[in-house]
């Protein structure tokens, strides 16, 4: 169901009254959220809080049960192809084809997104993720951390204005995790809006302009970064989610 009303303020993302149920399981119970252009929003929350569901709805993979979602002023139901051109999702699953090379994977997605100057762009992103030497290697031969870097490359290949990251550092060893972290920092540039979910409080606080905590399908806490006491945030988190992590 959609409100039928255009978002009044041109934010990058506007969500009103969003709910989502899977049968009897209520994953999201009423979310209202606004994300400004160029902002980096970080979403914390325990397992089952609804973080992945929220990101999947925002990235058009899943439809809401009720409520409205607008991306760049457009309702997600209205012009799906146009919206999808401008957004991207990087998740802990890579969306890559193991038997194809890095280059072939990027070429495939580049063509699906009608990326102009594709060869040049592929070259650029591969350099940015520092995998020039593995360009013609099959994804299956890369380490998990390297695969995730290719996935990020895939994510930014078409230069999306909104980038969603769903626990991108999950399953990575510490070294790979650090490499990814440095890259994540570079994603929120050029006016690109970033929404990231993560379990890692420290990293999230480093990267985010604004933090929200999701618990059992609701936003239980919101704050801008400069208002947060990083040292004590763990306590704040535990308090609002009523759980230890």
């Amino acid at each position: 169901m959609n409100d039928g009303v255009l978002a009044p303020v041109p934010c990058a993302i506007e969500i009103r009254g969003l709910t989502k149920s899977f049968g009897e399981h209520h994953a999201l119970r009423g979310i209202d959220l606004q994300v400004s252009k160029g902002e980096c929003l970080v979403i914390f929350g325990p397992n089952g809080a609804g973080k992945t569901t929220l990101v999947k709805i925002m990235s058009t993979l899943v439809k809401p049960s009720s409520g409205g979602v607008w991306l760049d002023g457009m309702h997600i139901r209205d012009k799906p192809a146009q919206i999808r051109r401008k957004i991207s999702l990087v998740s802990h699953e890579t969306f890559l084809y193991d038997d194809l090379t890095v280059y072939e994977n990027l070429k495939f997605y580049g063509k699906m997104y009608d990326v102009a100057d594709l060869e040049q762009k592929i070259h650029d992103v591969i350099s940015w993720v520092q995998l020039e030497s593995r360009r013609y290697d099959r994804i299956g031969t890369l380490s998990r951390g390297q695969q995730q870097r290719v996935s990020i490359a895939r994510g930014v290949l078409h230069n999306p204005s909104i980038l969603f990251l769903d626990e991108p550092e999950v399953g990575l060893d510490p070294h790979a995790s650090t490499v990814i972290r440095d890259m994540l920092g570079g994603l929120n540039t050029g006016g690109r809006t970033v929404v990231m979910t993560t379990h890692n409080l420290e990293r999230g606080l480093e990267l985010g302009d604004r933090i929200i905590i999701l618990d059992r399908g609701r936003i239980v806490y919101q704050a801008a970064k400069h208002k947060i006491d990083k040292a004590n945030f763990q306590q704040v988190y535990d308090q609002y989610t009523g759980t230890g992590m």
């Binding site: 990235s59 058009t60 993979l61 899943v62 439809k63 799906p80 192809a81 146009q82 919206i83 999808r84 051109r85 957004i87 991207s88 999702l89 998740s91 699953e93 890579t94 969306f95 890559l96 084809y97 193991d98 038997d99 194809l100 072939e104 495939f108 997605y109 063509k111 699906m112 997104y113 009608d114 099959r138 895939r154």
Partner: protein, 224 residues
């Protein structure tokens, strides 16, 4: 729309490329179809001179059950690494995804048929050069692929994905199996065109109807 056509080809090329590297679909379907051929030949005691009567049926049973194995893989391969989500994120009509995967599944099935049919003809001591048989096979594989690709996408999203595909696929393709067998018999017997014309028309009608229906209905299968 030119753009859509290019994207259909892009999806198709991706599948062909992956299959050329691993050959997993074609080889598994081929081996299975061959086994079916052989088992059915034993089951029908091929020495007893019934060859011509049951031969068309045996060929199509082998291709049908091989198809069931193959179509399962078409979308099952997109479940790994959540590739299907990657596809859904792309700014394409859902029908483009269907046609891209359809092109792939048609090609793989045809490849299997091209290899299996000469084996079949040899086993049954039939002439090898049968262009009319090629026509029947191509037309029928189109119908198989139209239905199989659709139900493959459906079956992988259920809890019993391997069982679900044959249960959905087989009843629906009954008309085209009957028509294929009836069109094959005259070819093997060297009978005139007229004997198979009606059956070819049935297969073509089935193909057109299901290509249209599947195109319309695919987005409901793949999108919530």
């Amino acid at each position: 729309m030119n753009k859509s056509f290019v994207k259909v080809l892009t999806v198709f090329r991706k599948d062909i490329l992956a299959e050329l590297r691993t050959r997993e679909i074609v080889v598994s379907v081929l081996v299975f179809a061959l086994l079916v051929l052989v088992i059915f030949s034993f089951a029908f005691d091929m020495g007893a001179g019934m060859g011509e009567t049951v031969a068309p049926g045996i060929l199509w049973v082998a291709l049908t059950f091989g198809g069931v194995i193959g179509f399962n893989r078409i979308f099952a391969m997109e479940k790994e690494n959540s590739r299907l989500e990657g596809l859904m994120l792309c700014p394409v009509d859902r029908a483009v995804i269907y046609w891209g995967k359809l092109a792939g599944s048609f090609t793989f099935m045809l490849a299997v048929a091209v290899i299996i049919t000469p084996v079949f003809l040899v086993l049954f001591n039939l002439p090898l050069l049968l262009p009319r048989l090629a026509l029947v096979i191509v037309l029928t594989v189109i119908g198989f692929a139209a239905v199989g690709t659709l139900f493959s996408a459906l079956a992988i999203n259920t809890r019993a994905r391997d069982i679900m595909l044959p249960i959905l696929f087989l009843p629906i393709v009954v008309p085209v199996i009957v028509a294929a067998v009836k069109a094959t018999a005259p070819v093997l017997a060297g009978a005139p065109w007229a004997d198979m014309l009606t059956w070819l028309q049935v297969i073509i009608a089935f193909d057109i109807i299901y290509l249209v229906v599947a195109t319309l209905v695919f987005e409901f299968v793949i999108e919530e």
